[in-house]
Symmetry: C2
Subunit: 146 residues, 2 copies
């Protein structure tokens, strides 16, 4: 087995991870500058969070440019989302139904969305022959721009 243990990320940590997922990798300065201006924390605040992310093995130092470190994500967007969803599902008693219902009710989900999902599901189940794992594409962006 793999030592993944599904790292828990806080709200703010997640925000920073999102920036990193977007840009692939970057310095503290770059991260900070990409946070929304309203409510943009001090440079050292971002630095602290990045350090904590390092401690959690959610990011790592990829290289150094000038005297600044460039960080890259170690946790994929997918796995982070996975964790969030599972936690949310627990709150819904484990079933996705009430969650979906809620989305539909609040207009977050359209009939077209459902149709497409259906198609996707149908497709997937007919794929049952190969292992589902490696077929996944989604996080592509993560390390691509080394």
């Amino acid at each position: 087995m793999d030592r993944k243990k599904s790292i828990r990320l806080t709200r703010f940590e997640l925000e920073i991870m999102h920036v990193l997922w977007e840009i692939g990798s970057g310095s503290v300065r770059e991260i900070q500058e990409r946070l929304p201006e309203k409510r943009r924390p001090a440079y050292t605040t971002v630095q602290t969070i990045v350090r904590r992310l390092e401690e959690k093995d959610a990011v790592r130092r990829l290289k150094k440019i000038g005297n600044a470190f460039i960080f890259e994500p170690l946790v994929t967007r997918k796995s982070a989302h996975h964790r969030l969803i599972n936690e949310l599902l627990e709150s819904f008693g484990g079933s996705a139904r009430p969650l979906m219902a809620h989305l539909a009710e609040t207009g977050k989900l359209s009939l077209e969305d459902l149709k497409e999902l259906e198609a996707m599901l149908a497709q997937r189940s007919s794929d049952a022959s190969h292992k589902p794992g490696p077929a996944r594409r989604d996080d592509s962006g993560n390390r691509s721009l080394k």
Copy 2:
């Protein structure tokens, strides 16, 4: 306007709210006893959380029986879920699609689920004439497919 301001609940607070939503109202003792045995916190731990929930106006003292207070939720399950979902959606860039896709991919969602949702959505949109409010039965579904 209404002073709702969407209370933020922690993991554990949420767990307790779930018990209260289930039973309608209850004492600290009743709440504690309904928490899963494995990992059931001390009586006073539950008491503390309930006190914090009171401070947040998420529950209130309904009455006293013997020397024990009976608490009832002030926040509805629906609104709490609503908040959770919205927060999750933010992490997904605001769209429900990736979330749904994830659910479908991980097998949390079946074709039948989708069919039913579709029916629901269709129904709902044809209902556009009456106010949606009082028709809601929300909390019922949660345990239905145990």
